[in-house]
């Protein structure tokens, strides 16, 4: 199984400048791997990252938007998959890091950890294209297709821990991060 930071590095290499809405441990890792003002990190909590990303995709259809969701977070906002599939913005790619635990909240298992199929749920909700990867090379081979902007896309990344980046909760909710994003999106 691939390590999360390795998968995120594959994405960062192919997607160095675009809008990213990351959540919790993916956000901490992503801010270390690809620090950038177009990282939209202030999403509140309770699985709301994907809804923020949908708002960005609708408001800026000229820009690609990537969500780096967590499995526990996505479980809190499964209806958002239906909302997004109904609107089907072509410029939205929803990645979920699937490691079967609430990693930032005590490493407790998510419900139905060994049964759930996130890509299957997304497909049933109406996502026109879904992928599931546990192998880094296979993910790297598909990354250009995933980011081609041709249709709403969902990607399950089955991952284990890799290098851990600092858990900077202050930055995750900071006025500075919000202002940086606001300025950056206005200039793009």
């Amino acid at each position: 199984m691939m390590k999360r930071d390795e998968a995120l590095k594959v994405l960062a290499e192919r997607y160095p400048e675009g809008i990213v809405v990351p959540v919790f441990q993916s956000a901490f890792d992503w801010m270390g791997i690809r620090p950038h003002p177009l990282n939209y990190v202030c999403t509140g909590a309770m699985g709301q990252a994907s809804s923020h990303a949908l708002g960005l995709a609708l408001a800026r259809p000229d820009k690609m938007v990537a969500i780096l969701d967590g499995d526990g977070s996505l479980l809190m906002n499964l209806g958002g998959l239906v909302t997004a599939a109904n609107l089907a913005p072509k410029n939205l790619v929803h990645f979920v890091s699937f490691n079967k635990i609430y990693e930032v909240n005590g490493r407790y298992p998510i419900p139905a950890a060994d049964q759930i199929d996130f890509s299957g749920i997304a497909k049933a909700a109406g996502y026109p294209r879904t992928f599931t990867f546990s192998n880094l090379a296979a993910f790297a081979d598909a990354i250009d297709e995933i980011l081609d902007g041709s249709m709403l896309t969902f990607v399950t990344l089955e991952v284990k821990e890799g290098e851990m980046y600092p858990r900077d909760f202050t930055k995750l909710h900071s006025a500075d991060a919000r202002e940086a994003f606001r300025n950056a999106i206005r200039q793009n």
């Binding site: 999403t43 309770m46 708002g55 609708l58 408001a59 958002g80 909302t83 909710h173 919000r178």
Partner: protein, 180 residues
């Protein structure tokens, strides 16, 4: 004749959906993010759905809408969230974090399902309605009530103020807007 006259008078004094929508246009609202609500569905949501210049974004749950409106605000696109008070109460954590603590111009119209037309909110038999204004006050969220035709005139200034100050504003809709 008496019946017709009474109906006419009621219609003239009531909240009109077309006036609210006109105010939203003046406020440069481009998106209405909505969960259907019995108070506002006929008079507001359906006409908005049929309007060519405003895009309705249907969401499954109200907290999604808070986040969608927030994200749009960063892009200088104005949005309104149209929900029922039960959905507002369900979404308080999102409103707390995203609208209040992040200081974003989340504008919300809230239908008060079960509101008695002849009472003040604080005197409603509905516990959920009685606690709406105290909750908004406790959260420091500016709010206004839409019940009569005159009330709609506040909408544009309230939305402009919310975006100028980058703070949330909540409209409490006590009477169903007419659909004509």
């Amino acid at each position: 004749m008496v019946t017709v006259s009474a109906k006419s008078k009621l219609h003239e004094s009531g909240l009109a959906g077309v006036e609210i929508i006109d105010q939203l246009r003046r406020s440069k609202i481009e998106f209405v993010v909505a969960v259907p609500d019995i108070v506002t569905c006929d008079g507001l949501l359906w006409p908005l759905t049929n309007a060519a210049d405003i895009t309705v974004v249907p969401v499954c749950k109200e907290d999604e809408g808070v986040s969608i409106c927030a994200a749009m605000s960063y892009c200088d696109r104005r949005a309104l969230l149209l929900i029922q008070h039960t959905g507002f109460l369900d979404s308080i954590n999102a409103i707390r974090a995203i609208a209040v603590e992040y200081e974003l111009p989340i504008c919300i119209m809230v239908g008060l399902q079960g509101m008695e037309p002849d009472r003040k909110l604080k005197d409603s038999d509905s516990y959920g309605i009685r606690i709406m204004e105290p909750i908004l006050d406790a959260m420091g969220i500016d709010h206004g009530t839409l019940r009569e035709a005159e009330d709609a005139k506040m909408i544009t200034a309230a939305i402009d103020g919310a975006y100028t100050k980058s703070r949330p504003f909540v409209f409490l809709i006590g009477n169903s807007p007419s659909s004509s």
